[in-house]
């Protein structure tokens, strides 16, 4: 205190300003940290695609995500696949006209990823579907979501919990199954 009391009023003002400035910075950084976490991909999608409506009409997941039974990737469908139905269906709707805009400009829709794996993890949709894993086991009940959002945390524990219950557990516990 003796040191501070020894300061001139101008210096004291300056010190105060530095402290206040520092506090503001900390609060701003904290706010940034909170908001920079994975926000709901839903609100950021370029087109308000509704999973629920499509599921209610009886469309199976693999009709659009047709890679799921054939390849490691489930596939985000191309605009062409959407237009296969929507050049005739609901053409008066605003969203469909927006979709048709992409088609006319021959542009892909810049969808935002909902589920993402790190670059050192290799997942194969085909093997899981072939082994009888349902889509919902990892993706939740997408059919009742208006906009798809992440409901299951895909971390290593999640994968291994399921692998541990399988008959060929030894094989599925090998690191090289997912990391290569």
């Amino acid at each position: 205190m003796r040191i501070i009391s020894g300061l001139s009023s101008r210096q004291r003002l300056l010190a105060g300003a530095v402290v206040v400035g520092g506090l503001v910075l900390i609060v701003a950084a904290a706010a940034l940290l909170v908001t920079s976490g994975r926000s709901d991909a839903a609100s950021e999608q370029p087109l308000a695609f509704n999973h629920e409506i499509h599921a209610q009409k009886g469309i199976q997941c693999q009709f659009c995500h047709y890679g799921v039974t054939k390849s490691p990737s489930a596939v985000i469908p191309s605009v062409e696949l959407c237009m296969g139905c929507h050049q005739n269906i609901r053409t008066d709707s605003e969203i469909i006209q927006e979709l048709a805009g992409y088609w006319e400009r021959q542009e892909p829709i810049p969808w935002k990823r909902v589920y993402e794996q790190p670059s050192y993890v290799y997942f194969n949709h085909r093997s899981h579907i072939a082994s009888g894993v349902t889509c919902g086991a990892c993706h939740g009940d997408v059919a009742s979501m208006t906009v798809a959002h992440q409901v299951v945390e895909h971390n290593m524990g999640f994968c291994l919990d399921c692998h541990a219950e399988q008959e060929n557990k030894e094989a599925l516990y090998d690191c090289a199954v997912c990391h290569r």
Partner: protein, 235 residues
Amino acid sequence: MAEHKWTMIVDLDKCTGCQACVVACHAENNVPIASETEVVRGRGLHWIRIERYWEGEFPNVKAKFLPVFCQQCGSAPCEPVCPTYASYHSEQENLNIQVYNRCVGTRYCGNNCPYKVRYFNYRAPEFDAPLEQQLNPDVTVRGAGVMEKCTFCIQRIRRAAETANAEGRPIADGEVQPACVQACPSDALIFGDKYDPESRVARMTPHNRQFKLLEHLGTEPAVYYLKGGETHVGD
């Protein structure tokens, strides 16, 4: 317990030292290309290297080539020394696996490897244009500070296994071909599952020309070298 015994046969009498396997490996496995200065400092990276030996006196000199890559030892010196279990033995595939996301870069494995086939990423990988356009999406691009080595193209083995599994059948012989084997123009490299009695490698071993590198160390390599020298005619 183990399902497969992935085995490579290198026919030295057929190898011409063309380096096609080296190029194929770089392309398949996203192996960065070190600059000349880095190589001089002993920081080059090649998962497969062709060692060249000169034999005889001038003018009767002959070049002999020895492709050396990870021998996928049955009793591997690199494995027990890893403090993070990044270098471990896959009981399933009978391979030495390197888990990059576990590796902290102590380099104990590289120092303990008698074949010197483990390489350390001293720098973050850089791929000069247009090489960055042809990176293999099935293989991790390793960051700086990580040890790496030949995997017998585990991504191709896994892909074949996953396909075969989904179709409810075993992996057929010849279905898995590492990039080097695929690229070899003189058929000097032969790859397959030794546990499959009908496979080409199983039928070719034991071979009267076979030897293994540094066999006396007891590392039990999964790579057979064939060498008959001047006496060799045909298979």
